[in-house]
């Protein structure tokens, strides 16, 4: 069972699409190129087209027909089935309406006993709660139908509110173990934690398209300098790797890292930078430097020393 196997490769997949287009009819060079450009890598045109045309891969005749009689399809491999079986045992699977009966006799590739996420927050969503599942499914359906939703929820202080939004997509955080609905059409309500939703239903409100704003995450930038002691370079680069970022070496032991982040995540980023201690320093912008300084000044007044 190998993951790195040509059976799962881009080339096999692309050629499969080409053959599918050529079964029972001729495929033109243009059609073939369109498929390659869509499904393969950016330089694949240089390989796949000549290999088929020069008959090194004897799957297309000179006239653009194929000796293959049926649209290509391969059964699922054991690896694919075992991964699906593992997924079918995951606690979040009940959110989806999906039938896994065909995997009855299959051994899972892994179970929840085989791995442990040690730094996930403990107040994640209750994915097995019937109301939560109902809301999740309703929201997912509304996203697909692009149907406005009227959502009743509790806020952080525990009071109730009701908002009408256009659901855009669901965002999952592995760290928080929570889903959020990213919405538009309501400038006061762009992100809704699913765990706070009491109920949701299709709204008859006609939310004007002009009210839809996709600018839910105004991007900001912070610049850090890292000194490579205590393996900081490796730790910081990996830690911040999920952001769009750019690193430059300044001298033998010092590096500059620019991180693009969403304004909504600023507080979180402040404490993540603090976690590196004195080996990481914020240099720009001044406003971010002040956020760090404020925390440190507050610490000075805590009487720790």
């Amino acid at each position: 069972m190998m993951i790195f196997n040509e059976l799962y490769g881009v080339y096999y997949n692309t050629v499969s699409k080409i053959i599918k287009a050529a079964v029972n009819k001729k495929i033109s060079s243009d059609e073939m190129r369109t498929i390659i450009e869509k499904y393969a890598y950016s330089e694949s045109l240089l390989t796949i087209e000549p290999a088929l045309k020069e008959k090194r891969w004897q799957l297309l005749r000179a006239d653009g027909t194929t000796p293959i009689k049926n649209p290509p399809a391969t059964p699922l491999t054991d690896l694919q089935k075992r991964w699906l079986k593992a997924v079918s045992l995951d606690s979040r699977i009940k959110l989806f309406e999906c039938d896994f009966d065909f995997l009855e006799d299959v051994e899972p590739l892994f179970t929840e006993e085989d791995y442990y996420i040690f730094d996930k927050y403990s107040d994640g969503d209750d994915f097995e709660d019937a109301e939560y599942i109902k809301n999740f499914r309703k929201i997912l359906e509304a996203i697909k139908l692009r149907q406005p939703l009227r959502i009743k929820m509790t806020n952080r202080k525990g009071s109730f509110s009701e908002e009408c939004v256009i659901p855009e997509h669901l965002e999952y955080s592995e760290k928080d173990d929570k889903f959020r609905l990213i919405a538009s059409g309501n400038r006061f309500c762009r992100t809704i934690n699913l765990g706070r939703i009491i109920s949701c239903e299709y709204a008859s409100d006609n939310i004007p398209e002009s009210g839809i704003s996709h600018d839910s995450s105004a991007e900001k930038c912070v610049t850090l300098t890292l000194s490579d002691s205590r393996n900081t370079l490796e730790r910081a680069m990996l830690h911040f790797s999920h952001f769009r970022k750019e690193a430059v070496r300044m001298d033998e032991n010092n590096y500059r890292l620019r991180i693009n982040y969403s304004k909504d995540d600023e507080t979180e980023l402040v404490i993540r930078i603090l976690s590196f201690g004195p080996t990481v320093k914020v240099t720009e912008p001044e406003s971010f430097v002040n956020l760090i300084k404020d925390r440190l000044k507050k610490q000075q007044s805590c009487g720790l020393f």
């Binding site: 040509e6 991964w83 997924v87 979040r92 927050y121 592995e174 993540r272 000044k297 720790l304």
Partner: protein, 411 residues
């Protein structure tokens, strides 16, 4: 050898991609592990696979390539593309599509001779210079597919018959969109997505460490070994030595961090009777060995140790633990600080001292592992105590050094 977009071995490109993605500041000359020609080829491949995600900056030392991806925006992990680049021969791909056209769904099983004959007569004869596949080549390919589970065999007398495995499909793209990013070995979900019809996906991911994709093969091998309760031999790099070291161990669990992007194997080493952690991105190879009869007992032992493990450090499973406690203060209306401590406490405990302060305590194998987390409460820590006095001193000195760093020396 002429440049080929596809590769036979994933290991070399794995390290290049990690360098481009995680670091991204090295110049061409610094990639000294292989020749500069090798660097040029690998860079060209990654550019071809990842297109828009590749950028470069010019420095006096030359052009430095890097991969920059906002994983919150990118709905599917672009690094999966690298795992779809396995090379093959001209004969392999031709044979693949013909075999599955001969062995149809619900079609009758066929002998090796019938398949080989059909390849010749029904498929290749229409080419002016047809390829020739002898029975041995076809048998080998069929055997490969039997191993992957996509072809089944049955024996009638002495004759082996081949038939296509049952066609099943998961008709639920939402599940694949979600789990291809959220489940271990998610790249397999991406392989399954490649088989589905085009559809719009509706999930985005925050705090999403996509670099783990590069370790999928290693992770998959370890899952397989744990499932079979087998020992393994790993070829492992460490920061102290250039050359990989071979270690025999019983793989017990995979510890995954969703806050720093690392994955670890926790395994028992018989030779020194210790449970140790190994970073997956430092493991180059996994070889499955024979059965570990005490697998269940060892795993139970590790589970019992969870109450003292903050991150992955086990101190080998010794009895010795270190005590850590600290107090934080919060203002009225900042009750969320208490809640934050409670949700992030892992194996520790949190106790409310009064309306505006609470205390965290833990008994851990390695208090050094906790320090980065404790620093996230800077601004609120009124008291701190470690039984490991060296760690406590380091923590306090670091705070003083941070004051210096930002010119906040106390007068």
């Amino acid at each position: 050898m002429a440049y080929n977009e596809l590769i036979k071995n994933f290991e070399r490109i794995r390290s290049y991609m990690r360098e481009f993605y995680v670091y991204g500041f090295k110049s061409r000359e610094e990639y000294t592990v292989k020749s500069t020609r090798s660097y040029d080829d690998e860079r060209r491949r990654v550019e071809s696979w990842l297109g828009d995600c590749m950028s470069f900056h010019r420095t006096p030392d030359g052009k430095n390539m890097f991969i920059s991806i906002d994983s919150r925006v990118s709905r599917h992990n672009p690094l999966y593309k690298a795992l779809k680049s396995k090379s093959f021969t001209d004969g392999d791909i031709t044979l693949h599509f013909i075999i599955f056209d001969i062995l149809l769904p619900n079609g009758e099983a066929k002998t090796l001779h019938e398949i080989t004959d059909s390849i010749d007569k029904n498929y290749l004869s229409s080419f002016s210079a047809p390829r020739f596949y002898d029975e041995s080549t076809v048998r080998k390919k069929l055997a490969e597919y039997v191993k992957e589970g996509i072809i089944k065999t049955e024996k009638k007398g002495k004759t082996v018959f081949y038939r296509r495995a049952e066609d099943t499909e998961l008709n639920c793209p939402d599940v694949l969109d979600f789990y291809s990013e959220a489940a271990p070995c998610g790249v397999i979900g991406s392989f399954l997505l490649d088989r589905t019809e085009e559809h719009e996906d509706h999930f985005a991911f925050k705090h999403h460490y996509i670099t783990q994709a590069l370790d999928s093969e290693i992770l998959c091998s370890l899952f397989s070994a744990m499932h079979n309760k087998n020992e393994v031999e790993i070829s492992n790099l460490n920061r102290k030595s250039e050359a990989p070291v071979t270690i025999r161990l019983v793989p017990l669990n995979i510890f995954i961090s969703v806050q720093n992007g690392r994955q670890y194997l926790l395994g028992y080493i018989r030779s020194n009777r210790r449970i140790r952690s190994f970073r997956l991105d430092y493991i180059l190879k996994v070889k499955e060995l024979g059965a570990a009869d005490d697998f269940d007992t060892l795993r139970e032992k590790l589970t019992g140790m969870h109450k003292h493990i903050w991150g992955v450090s086990t101190q080998g499973g010794s009895e010795r633990t270190e005590h850590v406690e600290f107090t934080v203060h919060y203002d009225p209306g900042e009750e969320f600080i208490y809640k934050r401590l409670v949700r992030e406490k892992r194996c520790g405990t949190v106790e409310k001292l009064d309306e505006n302060s609470c205390r965290f305590t833990a008994e851990v194998y390695d208090s050094n592992e906790m320090i980065p987390w404790i620093r996230t409460f800077i601004g609120r820590i009124t008291d701190i105590s470690f039984s490991n006095k060296e760690a406590e001193l380091r923590f306090k000195n670091d705070i003083r050094n941070m004051y210096d760093l930002y010119d906040l020396n106390e007068e």
